[in-house]
């Protein structure tokens, strides 16, 4: 580590390239903290958005007209507004209506900026996931659904055990795409001061005047993260492949 740090210190002294995060302990700690926050944020958003998509696709085919219309309204709302506007809206408008307690001069909300980022981004990507899952569900042959119900499956049971497993395989590539997009969209959380990578990089380059260097770090960081996600999704796709189907 020391040798590593010395190299970057040397690099700065000789070439002016200031990768301060690799030799300054304080900046290094900030950088590492940002990596964890980013990864936590991404995982939380991914899981939440898939759950929303799963539930949403089921609700779209519900018998109750209220649920179906409610679902359509939700999709329109989240698909037709920019994600950054949604984040600000949730944090500054909805956030002020949720309970909080006085923590000595300031209001500590039960849902903080991190929570609002997960909620707004999860719903945002969830709206797309709903449509993606619907495309998969519609690809499942009607005869298969009929076969399931003739075996005594209820609508919910046939959704969970027959329709969704088949639909999921069909829509995985599209889901994959949307999740990669979601991963990149988490950078918008810097707008409500979630200390993720974009936010921290901005602080570091403001304090050290090393914008191009931090831009490169930021760029490579996200290239790496997306690569890991895509690799994982492809493995999943392969593992779930049913011979002779799709």
């Amino acid at each position: 580590m020391e040798l590593f740090g010395d190299f970057f210190k040397q690099l700065y002294d000789t070439t002016g390239w200031n990768f301060v995060i690799f030799y300054d302990q304080v900046e290094w700690d900030r950088f590492i903290a940002a990596i964890w926050t980013t990864i936590r944020l991404i995982i939380a958003c991914l899981i939440f958005s898939v759950i929303v998509g799963f539930a949403g696709a089921w609700a779209q085919g519900a018998k109750s007209r209220i649920i179906r219309y409610g679902m359509a309204g939700y999709i329109q709302f989240f698909r037709n507004t920019p994600p950054f506007v949604q984040i600000l809206f949730f944090y500054f408008v909805v956030g002020n209506l949720t309970p909080s307690y006085d923590a000595g001069g300031y209001q500590q909300a039960y849902i903080g900026s991190f929570g609002w980022a997960v909620i707004s981004l999860g719903f945002f990507a969830g709206a797309f996931n709903t449509e993606i899952f619907r495309s998969g569900i519609e690809a499942v042959p009607e005869s298969t659904v009929e076969a399931a119900s003739s075996l005594g499956y209820t609508r919910l049971q046939s959704y969970i055990y027959v329709v969704f497993p088949l639909a999921f395989r069909v829509c995985l590539p599209a889901l994959n795409n949307n999740l990669v997009n979601l991963l990149k969209t988490t950078t918008l959380a810097y707008g409500i001061a979630v200390p993720e990578m974009m936010y921290t990089a901005n602080q570091i380059w403001s304090d050290n005047v090393n914008v191009p260097e931090m831009m490169i770090v930021l760029f490579l960081f996200y290239v790496g993260l997306v690569a890991v996600l895509v690799w994982g999704m492809h493995r999943w796709e392969k593992a779930m492949k049913i011979p002779g189907y799709g």
């Binding site: 002016g16 390239w17 304080v26 600000l88 500054f92 956030g95 002020n96 909080s100 000595g104 001069g105 300031y106 209001q107 909300a109 900026s113 810097y190 707008g191 409500i192 001061a193 936010y199 901005n202 602080q203 380059w205 403001s206 304090d207 050290n208 005047v209 914008v211 191009p212 490169i216």
Partner: protein, 281 residues
């Protein structure tokens, strides 16, 4: 196949490094033509703040106005050219100058040694200010009261780091002042850490009657306007030094301070006296 992949990656990496290396080399270019260019163009492009009342902000019609805009106007008038304003942010203002998108930057920038390596900060300084906080009355009394508590800030401000490392405050930094101050009003943080001069302007605006500026101002720092680094020693940098000298000597800055309702700064009075002393009586 594997080899091919590696080759592609290496190629991309090389292209990336080359591209970046070239921009660094561009910065080393030393020129003396900015002044002539501005005259030939008939237009001076100045980077200013558009969200920092009363130095640079948008009035009700959307036009950028403020003390620093008046200063930019003075420069354009002295050169006999038209003025074009480009709004910049604290976190990107130096890049605007480096990339040649603006000729001059007057954007409430504190004069720091590491910034002098990147842009041509022209002497003498034209203003000073320090760090303080805006907080609800009676909530905090001294800097140490901020320990462990959320304090709103603005992304890109250098005092965020100082306040967090010195007093253990948890900085919650927003993109713009408006969002940060909204968060303060919502009670999401105990205080809003910023420039004392800007906070004074907020308090004077009448929108913050339940608020106060309770701390002792720290780190009084000079402000610098800047030209591109390689133009600092050329006509352009020297011309701007002259502009600042005359602003101080004639009391123009004190006059502008009054016009924009800014608390009088001791620094401007000191500078005026100093430069006046060189004049024959």
């Amino acid at each position: 196949m594997k080899l091919k992949k590696t080759a592609i990656i290496a190629g991309v990496a090389a292209a990336l490094t080359l591209g970046v290396a070239m921009t660094k080399a561009d910065q080393a270019y030393a020129g003396n033509d900015r002044f002539k260019k501005v005259l030939a163009r008939g237009e001076l492009v100045v980077g200013v703040k558009a969200d920092y009342k009363p130095w640079g902000f948008r009035d009700s019609s959307g036009k950028i106005v403020g003390m620093e805009i008046d200063m930019a106007q003075d420069v354009a008038k002295a050169m006999g050219v038209k003025l074009k304003l480009i709004p910049v942010q604290s976190s990107n203002r130096m890049q605007f100058l480096q990339q040649g998108k603006i000729d001059l930057m007057i954007a409430t920038m504190s004069d720091k040694a590491n910034r002098r390596k990147v842009v041509g900060i022209v002497d003498p300084n034209y203003y000073t200010s320090g760090t303080n906080v805006l907080a609800k009355k009676g909530v905090v009394k001294q800097w140490s009261d901020l320990k462990g508590k959320p304090v709103c800030g603005k992304q890109g401000a250098f005092y965020n780091k100082q306040v967090s490392s010195r007093y253990g405050a948890k900085i919650v930094a927003f993109v713009g002042n408006a969002e940060a101050k909204q968060a303060l009003r919502d009670g999401k943080c105990v205080a809003w850490v910023y420039d004392d001069s800007s906070i004074m302007a907020d308090l004077a605006s009448g929108q913050y009657n339940d608020y106060e500026m309770p701390m002792k101002t720290e780190d009084d720092t000079p402000w610098g306007l800047a030209v591109p680094l390689d133009e600092k020693g050329s006509i352009w940098g020297n011309f701007m030094s002259g502009m600042i000298y005359n602003w101080h000597r004639t009391g123009r800055l004190i006059e502008l301070e009054k016009k924009w309702g800014i608390q009088p700064t001791a620094y401007l009075v000191t500078m005026k006296k100093k430069f006046e002393a060189y004049q024959p009586k």
